[in-house]
């Protein structure tokens, strides 16, 4: 069964940093508590996405000509079109759902950890106590019942919007236009281009500053794009090794 590809549009220009998305996600998905720490980084005490944080609200305090600007953004798994985590997974635990999202099958994952350094955004991680990889499922169970993902449902300002990905992209461009006309020239979309290094993200963002300010890579590329050249280099090195072994063997008497 294939249905329309769905995704998020996170409009950070209306995020108020309430963290209702973080809480709703934890509640619905039964994600364990991951430390009650004070980081000292504005109101962000979660730090980053990880095995036990599937929505993460970033807080950035900027001094702009003496006036303070507060950027807030709810980050989430990008559900990439070319998802490196899925491609490198050796067990097939990570798979593409009928909604076009990327999900870990917990009954298959053996905790090899390959997806962790493969993700160009540092989203997925292995949970210490249970040994398996975890990340946002885009509420796979809720989607099956035609419900909105918990984070989008809980968002009070519609900063997190959910729907068919094409519609999300359209809304993102419309909103960008409105902000540009209003003079917010630094507003930019992130992950909306199907021609980018990951084939376009399944979660599109509208940011008010450069991606790296929010802890996002400015030009992510799925590592498996270069897999052909890697195997060619390995074949070359393997052939050289074989030649070396032959040379050593035939080089003369013992």
């Amino acid at each position: 069964m294939t249905t329309e590809r769905v995704g998020f549009f996170t409009d950070t220009s209306v995020c108020i940093g309430c963290k209702a998305c973080e809480v709703a996600c934890k509640e619905w998905n039964d994600v364990p508590e991951d430390g009650l720490d004070f980081t000292g980084h504005s109101y962000d005490n979660t730090g980053a996405l990880g095995a036990d944080t599937w929505r993460h609200v970033a807080f950035i305090e900027q001094d702009r000509d003496g006036a303070m600007r507060w950027l807030m953004s709810s980050d989430v798994c990008k559900h990439c079109t070319s998802a490196a985590c899925l491609e490198v997974c050796p067990t097939g635990a990570l798979f593409r759902t009928e909604f076009g999202t990327v999900v870990v099958q917990q009954d298959v994952c053996n905790g090899c950890g390959y997806c962790v350094p493969a993700c160009p955004y540092g989203v997925i991680d292995r949970r210490e106590d249970d040994g398996r990889a975890h990340k946002c499922t885009l509420c796979y169970d809720r989607l099956k019942d035609e419900m909105t993902p918990a984070c989008a449902k809980a968002c009070p300002t519609e900063s997190i919007q959910f729907g068919p990905l094409d519609e999300m992209r359209e809304r993102a461009f419309e909103r960008l236009e409105v902000l540009h006309v209003a003079g917010e020239s630094s507003a930019q979309l992130y992950g909306e281009d199907p021609g980018d290094g990951v084939g376009g993200q399944g979660s599109i963002f509208l940011l008010l500053d450069e991606p790296e300010v929010y802890g996002l890579p400015p030009d992510p590329v799925s590592t498996t794009r270069d897999l052909g050249s890697m195997w060619r280099a390995a074949a070359g090195a393997g052939a050289a090794l074989l030649a070396g072994v032959a040379l050593a063997s035939f080089g003369g008497r013992r």
Partner: protein, 292 residues
């Protein structure tokens, strides 16, 4: 200095532990010793072939326990063989290791006890593909978002292949492999010193981890051990003491290089500048190209 979110890493550090670089050492050694054994057999030197098969056996026997111990769910190790996935070097590698260890076991059964004479020969012949076991691990590392690994994708296989030759040659020399084993070890040492230097140079600023912290210490130690071992083997290799000292130093050197590559990945993931700066440079180059 590029912008960042409170200096926090963008990438996640690998969750792999010490077993992985140690596996690279043992698997690599087996992948080089197996074709050496095959060629020795073809040359009619059964005594040398037997020693080489034993080294290959030691390598493949040590590998699975190390890999399984590193899993988050070791009891599910067999899920590795649920699928064969060309896009996953770890999946391809699991099959390579599975096939290699089976072949090496049969080849040893034949060479040691004369069991399975035909199957043993046939299994031994597959050692032509042994080098795949030594080099796929480089693809495994390169096929990640870690800049110091991914951007070394052209050089890492040569680092791993030469380290494999060095360790297999050294191990065989230690158990009476004679001049052919010593020659393999020396060729491997030369290859490793060259390929790591080329890799570090080509990485440019991304190669910083190889000069700092734990990775830097391991890289320097590995080079010193390799050079000292090779010198010892080249000058005093005809004597037992020289072979033992040289071989032991080079084995330590090969392990040290793998350790440095492993550790460099953590240092590379920890600092967001290694992610942001090359990506910004790429974007700038693209913008310039399209403006022209």
């Amino acid at each position: 200095m590029s912008d960042s979110y409170y200096g926090r890493p963008i990438l996640k550090e690998p969750v792999w532990t010490w077993e992985i670089p140690v596996y690279f050492f043992f698997g690599g050694m087996a992948g080089a010793a197996a074709p050496f054994a095959l060629i020795s057999e073809l040359r009619g030197d059964e005594a040398l072939a037997r020693r080489a098969w034993l080294v290959a056996l030691a390598g493949v026997a040590a590998s699975p326990p190390l890999l399984i111990a590193d899993l988050g769910r070791p009891e599910r190790f067999h899920h590795m063989l649920r699928v064969l996935k060309p896009t996953s070097p770890m999946s391809v590698g699991s099959w390579i290791l599975g096939a290699s260890s089976t072949a090496v076991a049969f080849a040893n059964a034949r060479s040691l006890f004369g069991w399975f004479p035909r199957l043993g020969r046939l299994a031994g012949a597959t050692a032509v593909l042994g080098p795949a076991l030594s080099t796929y691990t480089a693809v495994l590392m390169a096929d990640t978002a870690i800049p110091v690994w991914h951007e070394a994708r052209g050089e890492l296989p040569f680092v791993f292949a030469s380290g494999a030759a060095m360790s297999a040659g050294s191990a065989m020399a230690l158990i009476g492999g004679g001049a052919p084993a010593r020659r393999l070890a020396l060729m491997g040492a030369a290859g490793e010193l060259t390929s790591t230097t080329v890799m570090e140079r080509r990485l440019g600023p991304l190669g910083e981890p190889y000069h700092e912290g734990a990775a830097g210490r391991a890289a320097r130690a590995a080079k010193a051990l390799t050079a000292a071992g090779a010198l010892m083997m080249a000058l005093r290799g005809r004597r037992r003491a020289g072979t033992v000292a040289g071989g032991a130093l080079m084995l330590a050197g090969a392990l040290g290089t793998r350790w440095s590559v492993y550790k460099a990945g953590f240092q590379s993931a920890a600092d967001p500048k290694y992610v942001v700066e090359p990506q910004r440079a790429r974007m700038a180059a693209r913008a310039e190209a399209s403006a022209r």
